[in-house]
């Protein structure tokens, strides 16, 4: 089993590294896919393992996006003048400045949302069920509305992130951002995988199954909930910072705090793949992204209609997701012992 896993991981890693060279036309799409998988994986820590269905992880994503770009600009040039000038560039980053700024920006984009998550987590993780869901939805939208009113980060007209320096043209830009997002994905996956093999995951599951009993067993549930959320925020912020550089333009409600797109996507991807599994979000995000790209191009303009229908269909008819479906079909593969007679009886009952 372990050998099989190693082969699988090596194959994925090799594919991941060589993918932009095999499919050079899809570099941007692949980078977006990596970001989507990161978001789905981190959402799954809350929604899948902890049972706290959040719409608010978009907050950290958007925060990371704004922070990374602001730091990248602010380190070398006055931020206000940069946003004032909008599309017409008065300042140009040298390559060294660009990469330095990006590195510092990503660190800030990962750490500040983590602190924010700790602070607001203490306040709102005491809410449960749908109150938590609506509260986080409100947080996400409020963040979008408020950042749309702040002048220094572009307000309503948006914020153009520093363009990629002239060191190899469009190809180099695509490869750089792909590599960045792929590294983020690998880091996230390894971190999540490491978490899922510890007691921490069992505690999260205990909170999901019955929080009162978990507390009665002596688990400081609040502490673990906050830590879980901080881990999510860390990687969400990182993904946001990368995505900001990739898109090249930040708008408060359409790109950064985009509850209608990204905020729903991450929930949908995790549910489509299967909540509460390690591989579920990865599979879900991949399937969703392929489906989305195919659909979005064929039904240009109708994508939100398709998205709405898709949400309803998945939520109502397919709440267990792909992993849940596989699990029901091949329980042996998941290490479950199956009583053949019992199973047949159940099938007949159905």
């Amino acid at each position: 089993m372990i050998n099989k896993n190693i082969i699988l991981y090596t194959a994925i890693l090799v594919f991941g590294i060589t993918a932009p060279f095999i499919f050079p036309a899809f570099k941007v799409q692949l980078s977006i896919l990596c970001v989507l998988i990161v978001l789905a994986l981190t959402w799954n820590i809350q929604g899948g393992e902890m049972g706290y269905n959040t719409f608010g992880n978009i907050l950290f994503y958007g925060l990371g996006m704004y922070l990374c770009a602001s730091v990248q600009v602010g380190m070398f040039f006055p931020l206000a003048e940069w946003t004032e000038s909008g599309g017409e560039k008065t300042f140009v980053h040298t390559p060294a400045q660009f990469f330095q700024g990006m590195a510092v920006g990503l660190v800030v984009a990962a750490i500040v949302p983590t602190i924010v998550a700790g602070l607001i987590g203490y306040a709102i993780l005491g809410l449960r069920g749908h109150y938590f869901a609506i509260c986080t939805l409100g947080l996400g939208v409020a963040a979008g509305e408020i950042s749309g009113g702040i002048e220094i980060i572009g307000a309503g007209q948006g914020f153009t992130t520093p363009p990629f320096p002239d060191v190899g043209g469009l190809e180099a830009r695509g490869e750089f951002f792909y590599l960045l997002s792929f590294v983020a994905l690998v880091l996230t996956f390894l971190a999540v995988r490491a978490i899922y093999s510890t007691r921490f995951k069992l505690i999260l599951n205990a909170i999901r199954d019955n929080e009162d009993k978990a507390e009665a067993m002596g688990i400081q549930t609040m502490k673990y909930k906050i830590i879980g959320w901080m881990i999510s925020a860390f990687f969400c912020g990182l993904a946001g910072g990368i995505m900001g550089g990739l898109v090249g333009y930040i708008d408060s409600t359409d790109v950064a705090f985009d509850g209608r797109e990204m905020g729903v996507f991450m929930v949908l991807m995790a549910i489509l793949g299967g909540k509460g599994t390690l591989w579920g979000p990865v599979i879900g995000a991949t399937v969703f992204h392929i489906f989305k790209e195919g659909f979005w191009t064929f039904f240009l303009g109708w994508q939100y209609v398709a998205l709405g229908v898709l949400i309803v269909v998945i939520v109502i008819y397919f709440p267990e997701g792909i992993m849940g479906w596989l699990r029901e079909k091949y329980p042996e593969r998941f290490g479950e012992v199956v009583d053949e007679a019992d199973r047949k009886a159940q099938v007949e009952l159905k």
């Binding site: 269905n53 306040a123 709102i124 005491g126 809410l127 449960r128 069920g129 749908h130 109150y131 869901a133 609506i134 509260c135 939805l137 409100g138 947080l139 939208v141 409020a142 509305e145 408020i146 749309g148 009113g149 309503g156 209608r260 729903v264 929930v267 549910i271 303009g301 109708w302 939100y304 209609v305 998205l307 709405g308 229908v309 898709l310 949400i311 309803v312 939520v315 109502i316 709440p319």
Partner: protein
């Protein structure tokens, strides 16, 4: 930040009156929310989009030369059937399930409605001109459009009619019985499926009335639905389910808060202030309850 509102008392009076008239409208939407939440135990994120759809019905009547105030009668009738259709298609599959499923499913409906309305009616901000003129109070220091007074009056009228209907009619009794205990109601011969459909229809009809009034007094836009959902959710959690005077009062309170936020913070932060207020209210209640080792249910 602008504190003019406190330096000139007449502006405060204006804000208060505007807020109260606006809040009555919010309370009407929140009443529908409380109704379906109490009876069917679902939270409908598409509530605001139903409101906007009702608004477009009135707007279209205005475009075709009919006075938009008639929308107050036409919109609920159409919206009732929209609501029942929506129930038969989607909502009946989420009624008995986890609340998050209903939130997510109605979120999907909300996105769907938003985009369909965007296609059908265009992405412009529109309003139906009622031509009711304005009322001047206190030596013209306070200006109130008559349409706002009209809309508040109609809202109160509909709310009173609905309360009487719920108390007296057979269906109203069935709805209240189902809200108390759906299983017992089923045993005693109430067709709960029908009751649910009717509840959702009534909720949609209320949204239709509110939407028609909003299209007369304010503006409508396909993407403006979500704030109405959040406002009604907020009003319901402040007032509690089934507390009608509470719903009316907290609706007016929210309206006044919004007007003051508009004056003090500026219009661009108005929606943000509403959403932040929701978060603050929830956090406040969570800390208050956690002292007693309880949580919001």
């Amino acid at each position: 930040m602008d504190f003019m509102v406190f330096q000139y008392p007449m502006i405060s009076v204006q804000a208060c009156l505007d807020g109260i008239l606006l809040g009555i409208l919010f309370a009407l939407i929140a009443y529908g929310m409380a109704l379906q939440w109490g009876v069917m135990n679902i939270i409908n994120i598409a509530q605001g989009d139903l409101v906007i759809l009702g608004g477009y019905i009135a707007y279209f009547m205005y475009l075709y030369g009919i006075h938009p105030a008639w929308g107050v009668i036409v919109a609920p009738i159409i919206m009732f059937f929209v609501g029942v259709g929506l129930y038969k298609l989607v909502i009946n599959k989420v009624v008995d399930r986890d609340l998050f499923i209903s939130i997510l499913a109605t979120f999907g409906i909300s996105i769907l409605f938003m985009q369909l309305m965007n296609f059908a009616f265009g992405a412009d901000v529109v309003l139906a001109n009622s031509g009711y003129g304005t009322t001047f109070l206190f030596d013209s220091a306070v200006v109130l459009p008559n349409s706002k007074i009209f809309s508040a009056f109609i809202s109160i009228l509909f709310a009173i009619c609905l309360v009487i209907y719920m108390k007296k009619s057979k269906l109203g009794r069935a709805i209240r019985a189902t809200a108390q205990n759906s299983r017992a109601a089923k045993i005693l011969g109430v067709d709960t499926e029908k009751v649910y459909a009717a509840t959702f229809g009534i909720n949609a009809a209320l949204c239709g009335v509110a939407g028609a009034l909003i299209s007369i007094t304010f503006t409508i836009h396909p993407y403006m639905g979500l704030p109405y959902t959040i406002r009604s959710f907020m009003i319901v959690i402040v007032a509690g389910l089934g507390n009608l005077p509470g719903v009316a009062l907290s609706g007016m309170g929210l309206g006044v808060f919004e007007e003051f936020a508009d004056y003090i913070l500026g219009t661009e932060f108005r929606i943000g202030a509403v959403f932040l207020l929701l978060v603050l209210i929830l956090v406040y209640r969570r800390f208050k309850l956690s002292r007693k080792r309880e949580y919001l249910k």
